[in-house]
Amino acid sequence: MRMNFKTILLGLSVGVVAASVGYITSCSVSKSNKLSFNNDVRPILNKNCMSCHGGVKKAGGLSILFREEALGVTESGKPSIIPGDSKNSEFIKRLTHHDPEMRMPYKKEPLKPEEIEILKKWIDQGAEWEDHWSLVVPKLPYVPKGTSWCKNEIDNFAFAKMKEVGLEPNPEADPTTLIRRVSLDLVGLPPTQEDIDTFIKNPTDAQYAKYVDKLLASPHFGERWAVMWLDLARYADSKGFEKDVPRTMWPYRDYVINAFNKDKPYDVFTTEQLAGDLLPNPSKEQLLATAFHRNTLTNDEGGTDDEEFRTYAVLDRLNTTFDTWQGITIGCVQCHSHPYDPIRHEEYYKLMSFLNNTADADRQDDSPKIYVGSMVNNDYSKYESIINQIEKMRGKKIVDDNDDIKTKASKILYPKLEAELSDIAAGVTDIRPDKIIVNYVEHGSYFKYSNIDLSDVYAFSVNYESMNGNHSIVEMHIDAIDGPILGVCKVENTQFKYFTTTKTDIKSTKGKHDVYFVFKFNTDDPRFKNNIYSPGNPDWFELHHRTQKFAKQSKEEKKLVLALNKFVEMQPQVPIFQDLPQSSKRKTHVFIRGNFMSKGDEVQTGVPGTFNTFKTEWPTNRLGLAKWLTSEENPLTARVAVNRFWEQIFGMGIVETLEDFGTQGAKPSHPELLDWLAITYRNNLKWSTKKLLKMYVTSATYRQSSSFSKEKLEKDPKNMYLSRASRIRLNSEQLRDQSLAVSGLLSRKMGGPCVMPYQPDGVWQTVYSDFKWETSKGEDRYRRGIYTFWRRSSPYPSMLTFDNPERNVCSNRRLKTNTPLQALVMLNDTVYIEAAQKLAQKAISKDNIELSIRTCYKKALGKEPSKKSLDALLALYLKTEKFYFNNPDKAKAMCGKNIADIPHATLTVVAQTIMNTDEFVVRN
């Protein structure tokens, strides 16, 4: 296969290599027409000029990324481009200069005459720049006239495009294929035989729509769509880096599942995840949503610089926000202005400033966190009653009836002081009433309580753990951090193994004061005063009053308190977003060449100039950022979202590069359709994802068969023009779920802690961690793939083989590879063997081999095998039966029983074969 390099270059310049049909820019220039910068000029500039005169490099002082830069004076002292005057524009002269040192592009092939003509004409017409298509707010396009084939507007657009490129739609897929397709697409599970039969009997539009509604209402819908979202959220169950210890994030995963199931409008879904904590009176659910950005990695390796990794997390959050909602890669701009897209270096840091003010700081305990007990469907009545009993014993109302269970418990258990502020090296952090333990308190860290009446106080207690206790003290200051000292507590060494309480008498004082508890090292050894060692971590402080506030606890009460305490400890805590108070806001600086150690000018929050403007009525925080993203003027959010869902349903995005809507990404195959969908999703459907998906799957375009004709294969190998349905290989979760579902092994239990299904021994061997993979018991071995424990340094190996991302960074799409290692998983992994065993067991009919095989096949694929397939499977059956007859031990192993059940073992092999066919691993 010989290639011509010129063709390669042309292909690249268009941006979409295989999109050439219908997308090759016309090179002939008519005299009168106004040129389009985006269609006619930009491709020439990007291909030939931008690498030296773009964002990073400004050779000769010329950059053509922005108009004002391009029209400015260059190093020669003259402007390069004079609008309206191509004759005198140096820019044009240089393209045909006789001196090779002067002629541009430098040391490369000259531009073609027709390209130079375009550039001349463009300058003569005024050298207007145009924003890239994706940065122009979509306008409602004209919907092309439909035909009888069309079922909704999607089809009108698709049909018009097919006509344009000379293609005809495929006929509708057969009912069984269609039902399997839509079921796998919407809920990630195969249809039941009953669903198939109902539809086959009456394959009408109405019946189909009814089935779609049923799928959309299924609780499994959320499980399927959360998988897509969790790739973006780089969701994992461990913290990453060297130690990679587990982290409780699954309540966030359940939040995502619930959000899809409840059809939470996409703008609300967006706002909650970016800024749920900044909403007025945020609910637990809204706080939990902000765990989206707490999925960043935390580095617990010894001797790391927490500020370095905090900064890294913030940068990752910014990049992820843009990848997820704007489909624009912004990571480049960390180091320099964007080489192709109009985003400037300092604009990156303005955006970063929105995200730079959260209280988390790469701490080992991942604080701040919330208890999410009430999110999990548990029965709390027992604990409610304990709380009531204790209240009765204490003879007063302590809790508020509207409090959730954790807050109530907290009020009962910790009638202690709760610090408002603490200074720990990286900044200032609230200590919230949720009993957040602060790790890594350093020399000089303090905890502040405002306006406390000390008149009746004679002592304070502090509950803490400490490794360097013998050198540490806690000083109680009043009025200021260096104000008068009322008492000094000597800290004892607990080896960081337990918490202890030390009570210290104080000088008496009158009236209300601000109280500061300051942790210090009481030694001259300078090593201690550096930030690597901690004087101790406090859990709580308590002030002792001369007049007893509470009666002494009875034995009975102590028992109840202990039970309540245990309950609280068991509740999962999830890291969330929480802003630092205004007074201690972090400053954001430009990092020179992206290096966090070399800080440049300070910047304030702001958005890139080429995007929609940031309205003055919006708050300049994450909530404002969410409003900016979801506003009608944002050109990208809705387009990126409809495109993302489109890719999941149709196999390829309207913009193929889901992750890049910028000038280097693919152009939309159906630009008008994309805009129509974006506007419809936002305005008409009010961001309802279920309604959008229903529109997708009820279209005639979706319902086509997926057969290729030779003609279509030739004209449109990637099915860009939608003249058939795409055949899509199932992802790892769907493959697992489908096998478990057809065999009847699948547990439909939803949510809750992650599970550990079968995994080969010895996969987890990570440094400095003895955390083990312990295979789950009972139905938890057979839960849906989404619930599998995901450890970043050692992800579930069979899923990794099927292209799951490692979930260290935001991932927009899973490439679908086709490798021998995948075949080995499907053939040899225990879960697939067990599924085959179970399927065979269900399908077996005594003394009727053919019926057994047909039943097996039907259960797996929802239809009868063809004559040819049946013959092949029958032949395999007979061979295998003979083999097991001669090798009863093998038969025993294959059927998974204590006896050599030869028919069962044999049918298991047949079931395995069926579950390895292309038809099974692909959705047609």
Partner: protein
Amino acid sequence: MTNPSSKMSPSELAFWQAEHLKAQTRRQFIWNVSSGIGSLALASVLGTSCSDKDSIANDALKFTSANPLLAKAAQYAPKAKRVIYLHMAGAPSQLELFDYKPELAKLNGQDCPASLLEGKRFAFLRGVPKMLGPQVTNFKQYGQSGAWLSEHLPHFKEVVDEVTFLKAMHTDEFNHAPAQLLVHTGTGRFGRPSMGSWVTYGLGSENENLPGFMVLCSGGKTPDAGKSVWGSGFLPTVYQGVQCRSAGEPVLYIQDPNGHDRELKGDIIESINELNREELGQYQDPEILTRIQQYEMAYKMQVSVPEAMDIKGEPEYIHEMYGTEPGKSAFSNNCLLARRLVEMGVRFVQLFHWGWDSHGAVKDEALNAGFADQCKTVDKAMTALIKDLKQRGLLDETLVVWGGEFGRTPMRENRVNSPAELVGRDHNLGAFTVWMAGGGIKPGLSYGETDPIGMEGIKNRVHVHDLQATILHTLGLNHEKLTYHFQGRDFRLTDVHGKVVKDILA
């Protein structure tokens, strides 16, 4: 098992092969390992190099989705065809092995001058640490080249004339996981492809029945940065390193379940493929043909991988030479395996040997305790590897690289809770030693020099990115042109850095 493709009539087969090729042509040089969705612009390897003399030969364009690992021509004539990378995880001390510093001995026990600490970042050093002299009694020069070695490497002296020492290596990261990521993926953060993935992406594999990039671990633990150091990052997963294990299955999922045997497995795969061929007739999707081929390949791999991993058949003198410990996940076994694998055409063999983090915090790693045992563990085997490659005529075309992720400080670590009798050194990103031997590298050279206490390079410094550029260069790959377009830009192993160290090239 017969070739399932033969079940098609010859004309049928010819038709599909032609279709398949045509589809590839239509995809316009898109190297497609995907089901028609993710398409990888091969042009990202080729595009930028078109105008240059050293562009890839047109032959290299024979990619098919059926075999993305097909061997490809290099960008220019390579010296090395394969790489064995011996990573010493935890970072061995150069000051006790290769970098002889008599001056440092004189300073032993003195306070570290403030000037050495200013502006530096350390993992654990705090306050004013003491200087620590070399913890060895005997440092000598060996071979014609006069390479410096300590008494800890008694075997290695026999091969020093085959080796080039890079004595002024430096890096940007001073914590293990980020520094290991930097060495293997070109950045200290997660998400990028590893060197072995880049190399197999660029060159494919020479053996169809084995993965192109294989990984062997010893020392009881996998590296600090986890499996990401052999991950494929944003490259297709087909390029990720395949970890070979010495306990359990040699490669995950490669063993037949107990209820199968080879013949039965052959029958199963033949039946699967028969059903798939019928499917192919109905849907006419070339991807089905690919799946048929992948199942055949899987069947072959099930034999070839365990065979490759079985060292029992090696003669006694070879076992003796490497000091193997059959049945264990020993470094010596892995060195022997590495030789077997490159012999069979595996492109990139990555070894990780854990246990060099000599802080002096516990006995196992302290410079005056466990460090010597570590040296013993690797000395004989790495020497044998070089000798064995040489005697088989493989050394000329196999590049061997040895090194950690950073070096160690000339100061003694002063952690508060360490036992007083143990000595150790903190992480040092300013200087460490890496050695290279074989394909494309000048033998018997010491390149680069550190200051009199071994803290920083002062002459011919080589950054980790330079090392990567040089490794790729020996394989005939231009590190600036081996790129992959992802999220809006072209990525490469060396990020925006890296210079080939021309002085050490043969």
